[in-house]
């Protein structure tokens, strides 16, 4: 979980112990979550909706484009096939109208007509003239079929009935697929004859194998029974039975979707050819057709994924940055609040101390004068002046008064003004003064105290009261961590060009790494219940900042802690 630890913002695990009933206002994790949720919702939902709509629309339009193209292809091909058949039927029609029965029964004439048909239209194999009784009277073509009786065949009956017949494709004598077109001509007075032509289906196949169908597509004709009339790429040879169901009759071009035996979805377009027993079928592999769509879809999805990723990264980043700013501002506010609280307390203590000092100073002054007078009087009398015990006693009183005076003066110095008062300070002397304050405790607990100041440390311009308080707090903090007989070392050094560093190093119990970054937080204390308020170092840090400086801490559990206070040489210049 190391990367998470690195990414985890400062406010994540923060719990404002002092906020009480308003703690929900300072639940930064919640604020963050809410901000992220709202921003993500507002940004991502419309994007997803728009993308989904676009997806649908694009898919639909591509599908309809495919349908349109397929349908157009089917229609065009149907027209071509119809035209092909119609053209040949019309040719035959023209021949029977242009020639009398007798003309056509002239074998040479019929041969000439067949030749002309082959040259002009192509696809004709043979021609036969059938008399009203159903016998083929004359034949032009590769076989000898004169005299064949067609009168009982179904197609002949149909021609008589409808005037035209177009047959299914069948394999003739040569095992070559072909079909028959036959037309009846009424000569008048109830008599008639039939012209029968065999057509090669090669031209047919050529019509259907359209270049547009390429790429998984297939186009073929079937008859009404579902037998293939032209070869198919995937459904077999001519006259094989189609594996798919025969599509329902429709006058127009129709589109259906069907799954083939390999589970491929096919778009099937079909059309019934007018006046012929054929159904045109064009099949296209849907997957193949949708290929451009899947590419578009990939782009669309990629775009969506990239956008969402960017949005998430930006939202997470911005939310974290802003909430962290709020958090830091709140921390600053808390520190200030506590500092104000602390200053008030100190001011109160200061006033109290000053009052006490004043009250004591007056009687002290009286004792001082009275004892002084006694000493003066004794000094004038020779026997008393020589009485060592007497003089020692008097001097004892006077030196005690002096000690009391020192204490009250120090108490008085506690009361200081709230604004920063810049004055020249010798840092080493200030440290000594502070250590004198703590001298008694150090003595009782047998601490070894040492001060080391480098030669080149200049006097600094700063606020004496605040500096004293900073040192007092830091050294007190060290004392609390030290065992009896411990060592405390205060080092004063020059720091860079415009600074002085004061390092307070103890050999106390040290601070665990996890706590190290929180020691300057207000109300963070490991001594709660043992007299620690958790305010000392937070106020110290605030005071150092007021002096334009910086405080750092370095510690190792079991070895000790060192606090380094960096101060500008001139606070006024710094500001």
């Amino acid at each position: 979980m190391a990367p998470w630890k690195k990414l985890k913002p400062e406010f994540w695990d923060y719990v404002d112990a002092a906020a009480g009933p308003f703690s929900h206002l300072f639940n930064f994790r919640r604020i963050w979550q809410l901000a992220v949720l709202l921003a993500v919702g507002v940004a991502v939902v419309p994007l997803v909706v728009i993308t989904a709509i676009d997806y649908q629309v694009t898919q639909k339009s591509i599908e309809s484009e495919i349908a349109l193209r397929t349908s157009r292809l089917v229609s065009n091909t149907r027209r071509a096939v119809s035209f092909f058949l119609e053209e040949r039927r019309s040719a035959l029609d023209f021949i029977v109208r242009d020639n009398t029965f007798a003309d056509l029964n002239d074998p040479e004439r019929l041969q000439a007509i067949l030749r002309n048909l082959k040259n002009a239209f192509g696809g004709f194999t043979d021609l036969g003239v059938i008399d009203p009784l159903g016998y083929q009277r004359t034949y032009a073509g590769p076989y000898r079929l004169e005299g064949v009786d067609y009168s009982l065949q179904a197609w002949y009956k149909e021609v008589l009935e409808r005037g035209i017949h177009i047959s299914d494709v069948f394999l003739g004598f040569r095992q070559v697929p072909h079909l028959i077109i036959a037309v009846k001509h009424e000569v008048g007075s109830g008599t008639h004859f039939v012209l029968r032509a065999t057509l090669d289906t090669e031209r047919f196949n050529h019509l259907i194998s359209h270049p547009e169908i390429a790429g998984g597509g297939d186009a073929f004709l079937i008859n009404r029974e579902g037998k293939l009339q032209t070869p198919s790429l995937s459904h077999g040879k001519v006259l094989d039975t189609l594996s798919l169901p025969i599509p329902a009759y429709s006058k127009n071009t129709e589109l259906i979707e069907e799954e083939d035996s390999q589970d491929n979805l096919n778009v099937v377009g079909y059309a019934y050819i007018e006046n012929a027993p054929f159904i045109l079928m064009i099949m296209k592999n849907k997957k193949e057709l949708m290929k451009p769509w899947s590419k578009t879809r990939l782009y669309l999805m990629g775009f969506l994924a990239a956008s969402i990723t960017i949005i998430l990264v930006v939202i997470l980043g911005v939310a974290t940055y802003l909430v962290n700013k709020i958090y830091l501002a709140d921390q600053k506010r808390l520190t200030m609040l506590h500092q104000v609280e602390y200053s008030n307390k100190m001011a109160t203590i200061g006033r109290l101390a000053a009052g006490v000092a004043h009250e004591i100073n007056n009687p002290l002054a009286v004792i001082n004068e009275k004892a002084g007078l006694i000493k003066d009087l004794f000094s004038m009398r020779e026997e008393c002046a020589r009485d060592e015990k007497l003089m020692n006693t008097i001097n004892g009183i006077l030196s005690s008064v002096e000690r009391c005076a020192k204490i009250t003066r120090r108490l008085l110095s506690f009361m200081r003004n709230t604004g920063v008062i810049a004055e020249g300070i010798n840092v080493k002397e200030t440290i000594q003064e502070v250590l004198v304050f703590l001298g008694k405790e150090a003595e009782y607990r047998s601490f070894h105290l040492s001060i080391q100041a480098d030669e080149g440390v200049p006097p600094i311009t700063s606020d004496r009261g605040r500096l004293q308080e900073i040192l007092l707090n830091v050294i007190n903090n060290s004392f609390a961590a030290m065992q009896d007989g411990g060592h405390l070392e205060v080092t004063v050094k020059r720091f860079k060009e415009h600074g002085v560093s004061v390092t307070v190093k103890d050999d106390g119990c040290g601070i665990p790494k996890a706590d190290l970054e929180r020691v300057f937080e207000p109300f963070f204390s490991t001594r709660t219940g043992k007299g620690g308020t958790g305010l000392g170092l937070s106020i110290t840090s605030g005071l150092v900042q007021e002096l334009g400086g910086e405080i750092r801490v370095d510690s190792e559990v079991g070895k000790g802690t060192s606090f380094t206070i960096l101060l500008p040489i001139n606070i006024e210049k710094k500001e």
């Binding site: 007056n362 002054a365 004068e369 009275k370 002084g372 005076a405 009361m415």
Partner: protein, 124 residues
């Protein structure tokens, strides 16, 4: 040298006066402003040692009145309080160093008085 001591602490001023006289300095004392003013009516003092807080009148006010009466007189303030404000206002009135916090060492006091007189002699 003739000195006027003013402090509401009777024991203090009387003893201090006695000690000064043992050192050859004639010292009169008063425990309030009125007494101090009436003493100043009758005598001339070179130096006045005033408490900052005396009954009914502030040390500063008394200093101004005495100064009006005896312009050559020098002043030293003496206080048990030693607040920043007092220090500032008194220093502004008399100059640096004429502000002593009780209890005062008598030798220091005499030295300060001598310094003040000497300074006034140099600058007539």
């Amino acid at each position: 040298m003739k000195v006027l001591l003013v402090d509401d602490e009777h024991e203090l001023v009387s003893t201090l006066a006695e000690r000064l006289s043992l050192r050859g300095i004639q010292a009169d004392w008063a425990i309030n402003g009125e007494d101090a003013m009436s003493l100043a009516e009758k005598n001339t003092y070179e130096v006045a040692v005033l408490d900052v807080k005396i009954p009914r009148i502030s040390g500063l006010e008394l200093k101004r009145r005495l100064h009006a009466k005896l312009p050559a007189m020098k002043f030293i303030f003496m206080t048990g309080h030693g607040s920043e404000d007092d220090y500032r206002s008194c220093s502004a009135e008399t100059g640096e160093g004429c502000y002593l916090v009780k209890p005062v060492n008598i030798e220091d006091l005499i030295q300060k008085m001598n310094e003040l007189i000497k300074a006034s002699e140099v600058r007539p």
